[in-house]
């Protein structure tokens, strides 16, 4: 267990976001009956342990005009997958890149790279650039465009009894 009950309360209090006030950590602390220093120190410690990945802003791609969101998927040789994945992940326009298991026979793809663009033509251009980069190391590929956001919530912790 890498978080204790107080960490958990801080996570719950900030899961929906930080207050937009001059001293946001003090505002969180006040709500929890803690000191500002304790909230800051605990968040810093959680960040050092990787529990907090970062404190930052996540833009809404749609609102920024990046209306086309394509999950590009690739079937690459397992022995080459890590090397190729690093190269694809380093592309400036790829926001997330993961190696995942295939689900044969339905799903032959093991490399996933998320690409955003103003329209599908822009996503297709970027997809073509990935195809060039992968070269003969790629056996098949596809792109899945998102057509609707069905749900989007921050991380919520399940209530623990007792």
């Amino acid at each position: 267990m890498t978080i204790d009950a107080t960490d958990r309360r801080i996570i719950e209090a900030t899961g929906a976001g930080l207050p937009l006030a001059p001293a946001p950590y003090a505002a969180v602390a006040e709500r929890l009956g803690l000191s500002e220093a304790e909230v800051i120190d605990r968040l810093a410690a959680m960040q050092a342990r990787g529990v907090v990945r970062r404190i930052a802003l996540a833009p809404n791609h749609y609102a920024l005009g990046l209306a086309a969101n394509g999950m590009t998927v690739w079937d690459v040789e397992d022995t080459e997958a890590s090397r190729l994945g690093r190269q694809v992940g380093a592309l400036e326009f790829v926001t997330h890149c993961y190696l995942r298991p295939r689900a044969l026979p339905d799903w032959p793809y093991n490399l996933f790279a998320m690409v955003h663009g103003h329209d599908r033509a822009e996503v297709e251009e970027k997809r073509a650039a990935i195809r060039v980069l992968l070269g003969p190391g790629c056996r098949a590929d596809d792109v899945l465009y998102s057509t609707r956001i069905l749900k989007k919530t921050g991380l919520r912790l399940a209530r623990r009894e007792g």
């Binding site: 994945g85 689900a103 996933f112 956001i149 069905l150 991380l155």
Partner: protein
Amino acid sequence: MSRPAAPVALDDTDRRILNALQEGFPLSPRPFAEAGEALGLSEDALIARLARLRETGAITRFGPFFDAAAMGGAFCLCAMAVPADRFETVMTEVNAQPEVAHNYERAHRLNMWFVLATETPEGITQTARRIEEATGLPVLLFPKLEEFFIGFRVAA
């Protein structure tokens, strides 16, 4: 459920804020003053801009991002092939699970893609099984084997 927001009108200052704060936000008593200084904005001006960006939907989230795996939990991407005539019903059943963090409709035979975030690794298969029982449809699991981490840039 939400429809894609209409594009928001942004000026150069908004773009600089969005780009800078994607990289990180200070963990200090007056973080808006500190972040504002780097952007040439007063504390009040940065807070007012962020409030407006949040109101207009240009910002999805602002604050700490937690890693469920580091807390002993797990994330998993999942997919289902949902018949068109049952899509809305299945969506309601899937979204009703609190472990479903986000869910997207995608143009493919596998047309529903969602992420499970659970407090324990076993929670992933338990939740997936619950969804299979509720919907009568198979859930394919795509856990990440490796992440090629490159940051979170979106050119605003």
